[in-house]
């Protein structure tokens, strides 16, 4: 069957879910007609959305039962407020009851929603603990990242707590966005309009090369689906071992080595170089399949 690619980056949060999961398998929890809007946005006279910018529910993907959340990056930058965050946290709580093969978080968020900043920050902290608890119960959590807002602020931390991170070339993960760094530290520190540089710091390819993402895919919902299906097959019937002291000691050592190896680095080129890419100028143009082949083929 010849399926026309559907651009992940441009798609709405609802379209992403609809095209990612098995047809007609999605059931939404707290659907829009229940109108759980943010009272804090109302008080500030700001536009509201019926789902507060995130939909959560149950679905099947390649036959595997999953719980799934999708953030709408076009609504307030996918930012997390009280209701939005509570829906995400509730989904993780539900995972302990339903025990899906995995919880899928389609992250598209700049982090905390400033209109309700305190509630958002606390919600992200609760989400972090909920993810760790879900993983301790043997259930993996996946982050899928390929929207216009990427995964920044607290959602950047959340994404790195996830068991698997599937990212597109256009996807970005970080903590402070380039605009914030430029505003505070100046354009010499980080020129947020230099798109090539921004992608060499936060983009999908550099995150995959560093190992922060476990899969790099093209900007196509079908590609996200294929990678997710493959990882669900891998995890199905094999409960996650929770991280023990040895695992975290090993992770610690890897992060220490990275910090030492790149102790003065300010550009992702060095990371591509260390990962074995020889033609550094063309890495950005390299098709995803070629990139993956070169990366995974490298020692």
């Amino acid at each position: 069957m010849n399926v026309k690619p559907i651009n992940y980056f441009e798609a709405s949060a609802r379209t992403r879910i609809a095209c990612l999961v098995d047809p007609e398998s999605f059931t939404e929890f707290c659907p829009p007609e229940l109108r759980h809007i943010s009272p804090h946005l109302v008080r500030l006279n700001a536009p509201v959305a019926f789902d507060d910018g995130v939909m959560v529910g149950r679905a099947r993907l390649a036959g595997h039962p999953v719980l799934i959340a999708s953030q709408e990056g076009k609504f307030n930058g996918g930012a997390v407020g009280e209701v939005h965050g509570a829906k995400l946290r509730g989904l993780l709580d539900k995972a302990l009851i339903e025990r899906p093969v995995a919880v899928l978080l389609l992250v598209d968020s700049g982090g905390v929603r400033l209109h309700e900043a305190n509630a958002g920050l606390i919600a992200i902290s609760e989400l972090m603990r909920a993810i760790l608890r879900t993983q301790s119960a043997g259930i993996p959590v996946f982050a899928l990242i390929g929207g216009s807002c990427g995964a920044f602020g607290g959602m950047g931390i959340v994404s790195r707590l996830c068991t698997e991170v599937i990212i597109s070339e256009q996807g970005r993960i970080g903590l402070s966005g380039p605009e914030v760094i430029e505003t505070v530290k100046g354009v010499d520190e980080f020129d947020s309009r230099d798109r090539a540089l921004v992608w060499r710091i936060t983009g999908g390819k550099v995150r995959r090369a560093l190992g922060d993402a476990t899969r790099l895919v093209g900007d196509d919902i079908g590609a996200f689906r294929a990678a997710t299906a493959e990882l669900l097959d891998k995890h199905a019937g094999r409960p996650l071992n929770s991280s023990d002291l040895d695992d975290l000691t090993a992770a610690h050592s890897n992060l220490s080595i990275r910090a030492q190896r790149y102790d003065t680095a300010r550009d992702g080129r060095i990371i591509f170089q260390e990962a074995g890419f020889t033609e550094l100028e063309s890495v950005a143009l390299l098709p995803v399949d070629d990139f993956n082949r070169q990366l995974e083929g490298s020692p």
Partner: protein, 238 residues
């Protein structure tokens, strides 16, 4: 720092060393030895500092396990202006280093360590997420400053007039800076006053530290966060 240590630990007894913005060591809390890990001078948390924090947590877990002794309480002394804003740190993946600190906190919790945070300066945004907020119980000293962003910056970003934000902040704890707001929303368990005996406060915080995350319920109880608990429950029960 020594004034704080004197007030916090039994007879001021401690062996905490200061290495730049990083604090670590042990102290006597409620008659027993506790591990102390912290930051001061409004530390901007970068990958290096995150590694030090994580390392200290892992060392405490390892030590108690090796010596086959009951897990000690870990006291986090928090003073952070947030994450360091830098291209280099972003390239390293600072968010991943913060996630690592969070995982280490959770590991310590699962090994039976009680985690108590004392905010003795600032607790801001990403720095607070990675470090203080992951504890079982969070306490704030009287001059603690807790926030995501100050109102002037928030006004600039949201394009809501500053004066309006000031007025709205009076009636809602949801966006304005302040430890009191975080208390009402359930993320800070205790606000200590200048008259309190902080040693007694800390000892009591340790005994009351529970390993379940009940902050949403606490926020509901205190009237500062009315939707988090019910919405999460609604989704979980769907």
């Amino acid at each position: 720092m020594s004034t704080l240590f004197d007030r916090l630990f039994d007879s001021g007894h401690h062996a905490v060393t200061i290495d730049g913005e990083f604090l670590s060591g042990t102290a006597t809390v409620a008659g027993g030895e506790a591990v102390v890990i912290g930051t001061h001078n409004k530390a901007a948390i970068n990958c290096g500092l995150a590694l030090k924090l994580a390392d200290a947590i892992l060392a405490a877990v390892r030590e108690d396990r090796t010596l086959l002794r009951p897990p000690r309480t870990i006291v986090f002394l928090v003073d952070t202006q947030g994450q360091e804003l830098s291209r280099h740190e972003e390239l390293l993946g600072l968010n991943g280093y913060f996630a690592h600190v969070a995982r280490c906190c959770d590991l310590a919790r699962s090994h039976g360590h009680r985690l108590v945070t004392v905010i003795h300066g600032e607790a801001v945004s990403g720095g607070f997420l990675a470090f203080g907020l992951m504890a079982d119980r969070v306490c704030a000293l009287p001059d603690a400053q807790v926030r995501v962003m100050d109102l002037r910056a928030m006004s600039k970003v949201t394009k809501i007039p500053y004066d309006k934000l000031v007025v709205l902040a009076e009636e809602s704890p949801v966006f304005a800076p302040g430890a009191e707001n975080y208390w009402r929303m359930g993320a800070i368990h205790e606000l200590w006053s200048i008259e309190d005996d902080w040693g007694i406060c800390l000892a009591s915080a340790v005994t009351r530290a529970g390993s379940e995350d009940e902050r949403a319920l606490l926020g509901l109880e205190r009237g500062g966060r009315m939707l988090a608990a019910p919405i999460a429950a609604l989704v979980a029960a769907a």
